[in-house]
């Protein structure tokens, strides 16, 4: 009830929410394959590789927070933790694994 009332007083622009989510997803997809290249080059295997990916996404989240959201995640995301920190992290996992294995095989032929 409280939430509904809050939304009625401070309405949210749906288009902006979608646009922001799309921007975040775009950045995540591009950086995921980039991290795959790095992980393959460094020759990481099994768990360290996935930990590397998680650390990388954390760094990207911080970069977005500082450079794009100007340190005010509340103004740009409805639920900052869910959209900014966790948003699309697992969507990029497949492209990460793809480039990871590709570059691991290429470098250590």
């Amino acid at each position: 009830m409280l939430d509904e009332r809050e939304l009625a007083i401070h309405p949210i622009v749906q288009e902006s929410v979608q646009q922001n989510a799309r921007t975040i997803a775009n950045i995540r997809n591009l950086t995921a394959s980039l991290f795959g290249v790095a992980a393959g080059t460094l020759g990481l295997e099994s768990y360290p590789g996935f930990i590397f990916y998680l650390l990388g996404t954390l760094v990207v989240s911080v970069l977005i927070l500082l450079l794009r959201a100007e340190g005010k995640p509340k103004a740009y995301f409805y639920s900052p933790v869910q959209n900014l920190l966790l948003g699309e992290v697992f969507g990029g996992l497949s492209s990460f694994v793809l480039t990871w294995t590709l570059f691991y095989g290429l470098v250590r032929a």
């Binding site: 622009v13 929410v17 980039l34 760094v59």
Partner: protein
Amino acid sequence: MALLSKALNAIGLLLLAHAVYSAHEHSALHAGAPSTSQAPSTTAALPLDITLETLTSVFLVCAGLVLGSPALRPIQWSEWAGEVEQEEGRQRQGRGKAGMKEGEGVGNPFRMLEERPGFVDVRAKRKEFADWVREGGSR
């Protein structure tokens, strides 16, 4: 901003390509030479400089990508509407009625109300027409 992001991307990708090539050469070198003690010697550890170069280049490209991405939009209706209004005002002062930049904004949801014939800026229209006549007279 666009220039900075492009420069960061270019430098980062160049460094990344160099790092990957170095790592490849390193592993090729160690695969050819017979190892001293243990026979198979699972590819000697990557030198520190290649590791650092890889990490730095990835960070640079990430920063470039984030800087190059389109700006986020405020989700609070009040802030967003304020931005849209300011943008519209700036455009109207600049030159008559100019369309929003493509893909830049959603546009003013109240444009229909703002641009009713009664509210058309007649002087701007007249100036526009005069300019058009001056230009098109020769044609």
